[in-house]
């Protein structure tokens, strides 16, 4: 049975007249990769701060890893790791110093600090330049070091705020693999704030979509696509000799087929008004004698959900 590691109840934080986080109620289960989506100003970073007890809520409350972030902040932060949006590294110090100082701050067992630091430097491919000042590092190297620092004390719950925004595709893929391994093999719960919808689709078990501080959608990526993306793209493979006939029939079905079909060799790509249109479409085509070799619905993705939720304006 899964247990909640994050529970919030009408969590609200105001800055002046603005609600940065507005009546947020959600639960995150142990071991899941939870995506927290939304554009700038949606309240993602403020939520991370509230959940770690470094910012006080205006109203509402939360429990994280069974602790109250406001009353038990230090105990909670000993169990969480946070990768902030900017790496927040001491650039006048070396990578090794950055890690070993934080090992002391997290009270990591003294006898194990050296091995842990070396292991992280090696895992994040920083060992060769571990004694150089971080100011001379590339953005990607800084981000890797910041991630290593967030993982240093082996947190039970990891908050990642835009972890791949400054990384090249290879480095981003490395982070994706690492996050998946953390969650799937080590049981670490990951709270992933991201703009990157492909990243969220690939990694997250469930996602929450935020808009102006409010939670506007919550569920698994497939639930959300079913719920919010009504139209459905399908590939229809036909007898090439019947292509003209099929196009004529489809033109007469405006309630089922939205827009003009696209043709590539013997495959037509259609946008249907919804999943419900599939049986009727098949029935009509078969009745008119069209030979259908294959009908393959294309899975909608989070990007379409996101745009559907934001009125297609982004």
């Amino acid at each position: 049975m899964s247990t909640s590691v994050i529970q919030t109840s009408t969590l609200t934080r105001r800055f002046g007249e603005m609600n940065a986080v507005d009546q947020l109620t959600l639960e995150v289960q142990a071991g899941e990769i939870f995506g927290f989506l939304g554009h700038n100003g949606a309240g993602k970073t403020t939520t991370v701060r509230l959940l770690n007890g470094v910012l006080e809520p205006t109203s509402g409350g939360s429990h994280v890893l069974g602790l109250d972030p406001q009353a038990e902040g230090p105990a909670l932060r000993a169990k969480t790791g946070v990768l902030t949006e900017t790496p927040s590294l001491d650039e006048r110090l070396t990578a090794r110093d950055n890690l070993s100082i934080y090992a002391d701050l997290y009270n990591f067992p003294r006898a194990d600090v050296h091995d842990r630091v070396e292991a992280l430097l090696s895992e994040f491919e920083l060992a060769d330049r571990a004694d150089e000042k971080v100011g001379g590092y590339s953005k990607g190297m800084k981000q890797r070091l910041a991630l290593a620092r967030a993982l240093l004390h082996k947190p039970e719950l990891l908050f990642l705020d835009e972890p791949t925004s400054s990384l090249d595709p290879v480095a981003a893929r490395h982070v994706h693999i690492l996050v998946e391994n953390l969650a799937r093999r080590e049981g670490c719960t990951v709270f992933l704030c991201t703009h990157n919808l492909v990243e969220a689709q690939r990694l997250c078990d469930r996602v929450a979509v935020m808009e102006y501080g409010r939670l506007v959608a919550l569920g698994t990526p497939s639930d959300l696509t079913r719920q919010y993306v009504k139209r459905l793209d399908v590939d229809l493979e036909l007898d090439p000799l019947q292509m003209e006939l099929a196009l004529q029939i489809l033109q007469g079905l405006p309630d089922l087929v939205v827009g003009a079909p696209k043709q590539e060799k013997d495959v037509l790509t259609l946008t249907l008004s919804g999943r419900e249109a599939i049986p009727e479409l098949l029935s009509v085509l078969v009745r008119k004698g069209v030979h259908i070799y294959r009908l393959a619905p294309q899975e909608a993705n989070l990007e379409e959900v996101y745009f559907a939720l934001h009125g297609g304006t982004e």
């Binding site: 800055f15 770690n52 100082i101």
Partner: protein
Amino acid sequence: MNTRAIFAIVRKDLKVAMQNKGVILPIILLPLILFVFLPWLMAYMPSLANATGTSFSNIDQILARMPTGLLNELSGYTPDQQVTVFMLVYMLAPMFLIMPLMVSSVLAADSFAGEKERKTLEALLYTPTTDRELFTAKLLGGWSTANAVALLSFVVYAIMVNAAGWHSIGRIFFPNWMWIALVVWVTPAVAGLGLVVMVFVSARAQGFQDAYQTGGLVVLPVILLMVGQISGVMYFSLGLVFLVGLVIWIIDMGLLWLASKSFRRSELMTKL
């Protein structure tokens, strides 16, 4: 209190500060000028004046205006020696206080405002340290370094003063009890004053330079003490040093209490 975390922050702050030229240059140059160069100039001032035939009436006038207590303390010396002792022992005493004040405020500016400027504070706030540990660590680095530098400066100054004054006095005449009280009682208080003032200044400053320049006003009371002594209004007797120390300690405690109340994670986070 998690002392390991406190010392980790102290270590981090000092390591970072020592790589800032804006921090390290005044810490090296000021003692060099005040406590190495100046004692020799002061000690040889009467001889230089005599050699060049310059009237020494200004110093005589200053001595003439001195309170009776000081004149009594200088009564065992010849007029030339009186000038040397007055200059080296009394005139430079308030100036010595600039040292802990400057070191603590420059380190506090780097630690508080500098950290904000470098955007390294957020990660620190996410660690399990309590607000009190964080505040203690931030003060401890500047305070202990300021005291260490002041103590070292005092030792160097003692050697320089006795060496520079040897030709005139002919024996070890420094430090006296007033100076020992100054170092042991007033210096830590002044270092604390520089820190807590800078905590308030840094909360509103944009960065290290901004904080350091605004916080520089904290030397004004020390300058007033110097002016007071030159004008003959007061002089650095043992009693006055004790009183000055007491007043500064009381101010420190009040400001520290206020600063610790306003040093809250949640407040710091909203200003990032």
